[in-house]
């Protein structure tokens, strides 16, 4: 059975990103995978509200707004996915008593939006120059009713899927240990392992894409400053 957009099972949608297009934020990135698209704007390190202030590290605040309608449970879930993924990855102890504020705006949601939110945030954090332990990227896959596993599913595939899985990996985690796992639906351990491997492989490709994008930005800036 073919996929709605005629992709191969292990093929992700076209990736695209733009770094630093917002002028008021300290760093920003737009990330899209096919028609799923988000923009992330980051401030930090900035002054934290008194009740949020942490004496030994920076407070991480994540806000995600859906493209249509008011924030609902699934948007709160995506916020927590981003916060949990980056809370330990940001070197918050370098900037105690401050706030790193992550603003995410979904432009279009056509499936795998949690993974795209993590990817957009990773790029925006780099653009803002927030110190990071490593690069992080995420990918999703879905197990269809016929048992086939498809990567980067669109909304239609997610609705019909038996289970969906999102994994985030960091660029230097030992033994491919994931930094974030979210599995929903009913699935066998074998299916889980196959999803894990497929997402781990996909994340490597996304990390390579991110590296190219960031190197392009740095080269553009450094070529000038070297003069």
């Amino acid at each position: 059975m073919s996929r709605p957009d005629r992709r191969e099972h292990e093929q992700i949608r076209a990736l695209n990103c733009v770094l630093g297009q917002l002028t008021r934020t300290d760093g920003s990135a737009q990330f899209s995978s096919g028609s799923t698209s988000l923009i992330c704007g980051i401030y930090g390190p900035i002054e934290a509200k008194l009740y949020e202030e942490k004496i030994d590290r920076a407070h991480i605040d994540v806000k995600l707004r859906p493209a249509i309608g008011l924030p609902a449970t699934k948007d709160k879930w995506a916020e927590s996915a981003v916060r949990k993924t980056f809370e330990r990855n940001i070197l918050g102890h370098l900037h105690p008593r401050t706030l790193v504020q992550i603003n995410l705006q979904v432009k279009e949601n056509d499936g795998s939006v949690d993974a795209a939110a993590i990817n957009a945030t990773a790029l925006a954090l780099v653009d803002a120059g927030i110190p990071l332990r490593a690069m992080v990227a995420a990918a999703s896959c879905a197990v269809r009713k016929d048992g086939e596993i498809v990567v980067d599913p669109v909304e239609e595939e997610i609705k019909k899927a038996m289970s969906t899985h999102t994994f985030a990996f960091s660029s230097n985690s030992p033994d491919d240990n994931p930094v974030y796992v979210d599995s929903r639906g009913s699935f066998t351990m074998d299916q889980y392992d196959r999803c894990f491997d497929l997402c781990a492989m996909t994340v490597q490709r996304i990390l390579a894409f991110m590296r190219t994008a960031i190197e392009g930005k740095v080269a553009k800036e450094s070529q000038i400053s070297a003069v």
Binding site: R24, T25, I46, K63, A67, G69, L99
Partner: protein, 281 residues
């Protein structure tokens, strides 16, 4: 997080000094509009507008609901305006008109709502499927992404362009049942839009408000003594005027602004038509 600090004294003083000689800080003439870029799609009813560095994303969506009992034959139009910390540091959104909404968010959202709803830009009766039972509820979500002045003009262009870009599923009514066609079976249909209102904003600076600029930048907005917005459509009809507070203005200045606004609104409407792939009318 602390709110944004106002411009420093020397910035504010320089804006006025330069304007005395008809010079604007970003090098524009006093009646120059910043570059306007309108990107439509990929989804229907999705339009992003960039006015200089100001960015607004508009999303139009629809669903089938029961009509309001007092208006059984009219569709419903909902607005949601989101001016939060994405757009500028320290801003907090009330999340679509909540109690924490900032004054600025309320002002922009009221203005847009007024020009679309009260000027009857959308034909709400055409949104009726079955009187008293089923109507379309249109939802307009406005997301401000980057605030560098004149949000209203950018938001107005985004809203009306998104409404005209939107396509709703086709419906067939057969006696007591209404069939909503899947977009893949039957081509979705555009909304019935009566006219295309656009906003043209001016800022008045100086203690007496005697220095006027078109399309104020953020710094000019922060130092303005009064603001004035004219809403016009392609037929050169005035849909709304807005001068909320500020110093009193000379009536002759309003006349001059009106002439500028007529010319600018033509350009804005041409830009919208071009972005929607239509030829000049």
């Amino acid at each position: 997080m602390v709110a944004e600090i106002p411009p420093s004294n020397i910035e504010a003083a320089f804006v006025l000094d330069a304007l005395q000689k008809n010079i604007r800080v970003d090098g524009r003439g006093i009646y120059d509009y910043r570059a306007l870029r309108i990107s439509c799609g990929p989804a229907p009813g999705m339009v992003e507008v960039q006015l200089g560095q100001t960015r607004v994303l508009a999303r139009v969506s629809c669903e089938v609901t029961r009509p309001a009992p007092e208006r059984p034959t009219e569709g419903i139009v909902l607005f949601s305006c989101e001016l939060g910390s994405m757009a500028a540091p320290g801003l907090e959104s009330g999340g679509g008109g909540g109690p924490r909404a900032s004054a600025q968010e309320v002002a922009v959202s009221r203005m847009i709502e007024r020009i679309i709803r009260q000027s009857r830009a959308i034909d709400t009766e055409a949104l009726c499927i079955m009187a008293g039972i089923k109507v379309w509820t249109m939802r307009i979500d406005l997301h401000f992404l980057d605030h560098s002045g004149n949000l209203v003009d950018a938001a107005a262009v985004a809203t009306i362009a998104a409404l005209r870009h939107f396509r709703r599923p086709d419906v067939t009514v057969d006696g007591e049942t209404a069939i909503i066609h899947d977009p893949r079976d039957r081509n979705p249909v555009p909304l019935s839009i009566h006219h295309t209102p656009v906003c043209v904003s001016f800022a008045f600076l100086g203690a007496a408000g005697d220095l006027v600029v078109l399309d104020p930048s953020l710094l000019e907005e922060q130092t303005q003594a009064a603001a004035f917005t004219i809403t016009l459509n392609a037929h050169r009809e005035i849909c709304a005027l807005n001068k909320a507070g500020g110093v009193p203005l000379d009536a002759s200045q309003i006349g001059r602004c009106m002439q500028v606004a007529v010319a600018k609104s033509d350009e804005l409407i041409d830009a919208i038509n071009a972005a929607l792939g239509l030829n000049k009318s």
